[in-house]
């Protein structure tokens, strides 16, 4: 085999290995020259984007990829399985990771002086953890990566606002550890009754023992654990503090990705460890999930209205948006599922863009209070334009990504006969208008007297580029949602729900 073939054959594992090794090498790069770190991380993330895109294309063209670590056959060895679901999520992780990496240059220099090297090292390890959680087909391996991603996230948050960051990180640590323990217990229970750690294998064995109390307990542990991890209302208490006090770059990364991967894991466990029949009919988990999601959608938005710190407001908005994803999944029909899964992509674009904007504004002005945003429209026209596009997208204005996922979710709700969820989705659009419009008013219509001496002072180019790209994608996929839907999400939803198209 030529070297090229070796690389091609091992692409699945490289998704995890490259950021892992690069993460450690960051220390060396930083030791040579601190400024090299940024280029190094960019390069790594760029390579990861290429690998994940190639993986996803392979899956679309020739079906699921099975990769056996060290050549050990499952169920004995660790297996990486890339299907449409995690191929899709991996690409999102890589892409958002790249955007945030580009953005980080100036922001890290200013907000984390002297911590550049550890920041970038941890950054890559977080990506490793998230990639691993997503790509693995082994339930214990999943837990290992879950811990990697959690620990790195605690570290990143702790680097934030002096004092508050530490407290937020500690809160998150406690809650996250409780969640991880729940998940570990669930894994232990399932291992005890099935004797296997391979997801596919487990899915085959489990149906015979679905009546068992142990299996039910395992399901309960998983759902509780993941609900904490993704900040599902009312288990969200750790989330606003963590997002608010983390460094700007870390907020964007964590808000854009952590909860999405948690949601992915929940979907994976519901439909690929257990079976649709079990979670839909036998335990009605899906139905309970929809109601919890609906509550999260409304309550997250209501809390968001009450916030004056922009990052905190965005954090509450995330709580609401994660509800959309779970609502779609819980509806368990093809249309709703597509809406939920599409929202993973859409929300990553929108929320990442919004957090980047918040970071850019903080970088230039040091302001996070939205009532002090007067005149920003003149000072930072591009940044505020990105904000406008992303916020309109959150509201769900047609022609933006937010609309397409809402459209599918609402249609899915009608299909399921749950008219109340249609009303919830529409009401939440209005609530979104309420909390974003305050900011528009302050940015563009603030007190005219204070605006007279404002000079144009835009964020640096490395910050603008990723924001503009994300804003562009918010609009692009608003009109061309057809591509992800047709090639990925529709077949995927059919597979997950066990429907042969």
């Amino acid at each position: 085999m030529t070297g090229f073939e070796i690389i091609i054959n091992n692409l699945p594992v490289l998704t995890v290995v490259i950021p892992l090794i690069a993460g450690f090498l960051t220390t060396i790069t930083g030791w040579i020259d601190r400024r090299l770190c940024w280029y190094w991380v960019m390069l790594t993330m760029f390579v990861v984007v290429l690998i994940t895109s190639s993986n996803l294309l392979t899956v679309i063209n020739s079906g699921t990829i099975y990769y056996h670590l060290g050549g050990w056959m499952p169920p004995f060895g660790i297996e990486y399985v890339i299907d449409l679901l995690n191929g899709f999520v991996c690409l999102i992780i890589a892409f958002i990771g790249l955007m945030v990496a580009i953005y980080s240059k100036e922001s890290v220099k200013k907000e984390l002086p002297g911590k550049t090297i550890p920041f970038y090292s941890i950054f890559l390890l977080l990506i490793t953890g998230l990639m691993g959680m997503t790509i693995t087909g082994d339930i214990f391996n999943f837990y290992v990566f879950l811990e990697i991603s959690s620990l790195t996230a605690y570290a990143l948050i702790a680097m934030g606002d002096r004092g508050d960051g530490l407290v937020a990180s500690f809160n998150y640590l406690i809650m996250g550890t409780v969640a991880a323990s729940f998940i570990l217990l669930g894994i232990g229970y399932l291992y005890a009754v099935t004797g296997t750690l391979n997801m596919a294998d487990m899915q085959n064995i489990l149906p015979d023992i679905y009546g068992s109390k142990v299996v039910l307990a395992a399901l309960a542990f998983f759902m509780a654990g993941f609900s904490i991890k993704i900040g599902l209302f009312p288990l969200h208490a750790w989330l606003p503090d963590a997002y608010t006090h983390a460094p700007s770059t870390a907020s964007a990364l964590i808000a854009g990705l952590m909860t999405k991967v948690g949601a992915y894991a929940m979907i994976r466990f519901m439909f690929s460890v257990f079976t649709p029949a079990f979670v839909i009919d036998m335990t009605r988990t899906a139905e309970i999930l929809t109601w919890a999601a609906a509550l999260a959608i409304i309550m997250g938005s209501v809390f968001a209205i009450a916030q004056s710190d922009i990052k905190r407001m965005l954090a509450y908005s995330s709580i609401s948006q994660i509800g959309y994803i779970l609502l779609g999944v819980g509806l368990v029909n093809v249309i709703g599922m597509q809406g939920g899964l599409l929202h993973i992509l859409n929300h990553a674009f929108m929320k990442c863009a919004l957090f980047l904007v918040a970071g850019a504004i903080f970088y230039r002005t040091g302001i996070r209070n939205i009532y002090q945003f007067q005149g920003l429209g003149k000072k930072m026209p591009v940044t505020t334009l990105v904000f406008l596009i992303a916020a309109l997208s959150m509201i769900g204005v047609p022609g933006t990504v937010g609309f397409t996922s809402k459209w599918y979710l609402a249609l899915g709700s009608i299909e399921a006969g749950q008219w109340i969820f249609v009303l919830v989705i529409l009401a939440s659009s209005l609530l979104n208008v309420a909390y974003f419009w305050r900011i528009f008013d302050n940015i563009w219509f603030g007190n005219p007297h204070e605006k007279e001496h404002i000079k144009r002072d835009e964020a640096p180019l490395t910050m603008l580029v990723p924001m503009v790209i994300l804003a562009f994608l918010c609009i692009f996929f608003g009109f061309f949602a057809y591509y992800p839907l047709h090639y990925i999400l529709e077949p995927l939803s059919n597979t997950l729900l066990g429907i042969m198209p």
Binding site: L392, G399, L426, F445, F479, F480
Partner: protein, 496 residues
């Protein structure tokens, strides 16, 4: 009736012109003359593009263009038919008029943030044309929302707390309307698998249970809050805080007409004549809008602020259009549709006169206007023309639409609706004659000298006043509004 369809990109260009212009306007922030140049260039190009499609429409053809298939079976597409053409001509022609008027008004008052003003104005016009040319509910919804968003900065233009709070009110009403429209669209799509407008209504809706159909209709009508039916009208008088050209074009023409246009589209092209008749929904809704027609006129009488009085008059007149469509007889529909351009020309004249009074005499309240006609005779003459049209006196256009509406109501033998139309005409007279009386016959408090508004404002006023008369004395001129409306009516009633 078979209609020929042609694929042409012209409607897309007509919509895009002002979007492109909006960017150029923003770029020429520092050079007001160039900036206004873009506005005029775009306005004339837009009108030219719209008119270039008119011969095809008069030929009974339909122009379609699909931009992108956003989601499966959910295209963003344009379809130009006679009814859409009607609205497009009105909006694009009046943009030229109001652009000239805006320049005079904004410069005379030395308003701030003029770039933002022209920028938003251009986007609003794109949205209005987008609504006119929409081929389906989803495209219409897209532009409906865009219109709301782009007009918000115009309403809140002066940025005082009062303006911001009026803007919030505006936004609240129209966003709720938008969401409601989306809800209706979702339901239609769920049951029929399409949202495309059809001349006889969307096939498949007649299979819905009666309660469902009624709820759907109510949801859609809430969605048309831009048409300012009572009790969803409160945003319109509040929005009068905007600069007068905005009130003139947007709140007398583009935005509210977009509302009634949408309502008529939904009544005739989504539900369809047959379904409206079979479900009896037309009758209930006709009574409902009759309340608005009468009540808004009563409210108008009580306003001392001229712009507010005109706003309530608009609320009342808009419901004429909807009432016409609800009469579902060819005459009734003709009256309703025809009222869109007719009311537009007359009301814009009135609003521009009100703006001229603000700029030249600094007077907003009717009680302060004693003998103002001695100072501004041309303006007040134009005002009188507009007012006579509203009341329905020949030779100004208004009497024609009232005639058709009355014919429609008479064909249905519905005494109540006939009474409503007659009473409303009396009420119109009751709130317009006092203004004319005060302006012409009351003695001014102190000696007034002749001083008219600047020419950029006066010329547009005279033009629209003359057109208001022209469409009254020669309504059936070839290619004029009546011709277009006749084709549209033939389309929806199956040529009967």
């Amino acid at each position: 009736m078979v209609t020929e369809t042609i694929e042409l990109i012209t409607p897309v260009l007509a919509v895009l012109v002002s979007l492109v212009a909006s960017v150029l306007i923003l770029a020429s922030d520092k050079y007001p003359n160039i900036r206004e140049g873009w506005t005029f260039l775009a306005a004339f190009t837009k009108f030219g593009l719209v008119m270039s499609m008119l011969p095809l429409i008069l030929d009974g053809k339909i122009i379609t263009y699909t931009i992108v298939e956003m989601l499966p079976n959910l295209p963003i597409a344009f379809k130009v038919d006679a009814f859409g053409m009607l609205f497009a001509i009105v909006a694009s022609f009046l943009w030229i008029i109001v652009s000239s008027y805006s320049v005079g008004y904004m410069r005379s008052l030395k308003e701030h943030a003029q770039t933002r003003y022209y920028f938003c104005f251009a986007i609003a016009l794109s949205s209005a044309l987008g609504i006119a040319f929409s081929a389906n509910l989803i495209t219409l919804f897209l532009f409906y929302e865009l219109l709301t968003i782009s007009t918000y900065p115009l309403v809140a233009h002066i940025e005082t707390p009062a303006a911001i709070s009026a803007g919030r009110k505006y936004l609240t009403y129209l966003m709720i309307a938008g969401v409601s429209l989306l809800f209706g669209t979702l339901v239609v799509y769920h049951y029929t698998g399409t949202t495309e407008f059809a001349f006889g209504g969307i096939a498949g809706l007649e299979l819905l249970p009666k309660t469902m159909l009624t709820i759907l209709f109510v949801v859609f009508m809430i969605g048309c809050a831009k048409a300012a039916f009572m009790p969803l009208h409160a945003w319109l008088p509040a929005a009068m805080i905007a600069p007068t050209p905005v009130s003139a074009l947007l709140h007398a023409v583009a935005v509210v007409k977009a509302g009634v246009f949408t309502a008529v589209r939904i009544i005739l092209y989504v539900f369809g004549v047959d379904l409206m008749q079979a479900s009896n929904l037309w009758l209930y809704m006709a009574y409902f809008v009759s309340i608005t027609i009468i009540l808004a006129s009563v409210y108008a009488m009580r306003q001392n602020n001229l712009k507010k009085r005109l706003a309530y008059s608009t609320v009342s007149q808009l419901s004429y259009v909807v009432l016409g469509a609800l009469l579902i007889t060819p005459h009734g529909i003709t009256g309703g549709m025809l009222h869109i351009p007719y009311h537009a020309f007359m009301k814009i004249t009135l609003f521009m006169c009100a703006g001229a009074l603000i700029v030249t005499a600094n007077k907003e309240n009717i009680s302060e206007m004693n003998g103002i006609a001695r100072q501004m005779p041309i303006t007040m003459l134009a005002f009188t023309v507009g007012a006579l049209g509203m009341i329905g006196m020949p030779p100004v256009g208004g009497y024609i639409t009232k005639w058709f509406l009355l014919l429609g109501a008479a064909e249905l033998d519905n005494m109540i609706l006939i009474a409503v139309l007659l009473v409303s005409a009396v009420l119109n007279a009751a709130y317009f004659f006092p203004v004319i009386y005060v302006a012409f016959f009351k003695k001014p408090d102190h000696e007034l000298e002749y001083k008219e508004a600047p020419l950029t404002m006066l010329v547009p006023i005279v033009i629209t006043a003359l057109i208001s008369i022209l469409i009254g004395v020669w309504p059936d001129a070839p290619g004029m509004f009546l011709d277009i409306v006749n084709i549209a009516v033939a389309n929806v009633t199956g040529g009967v």
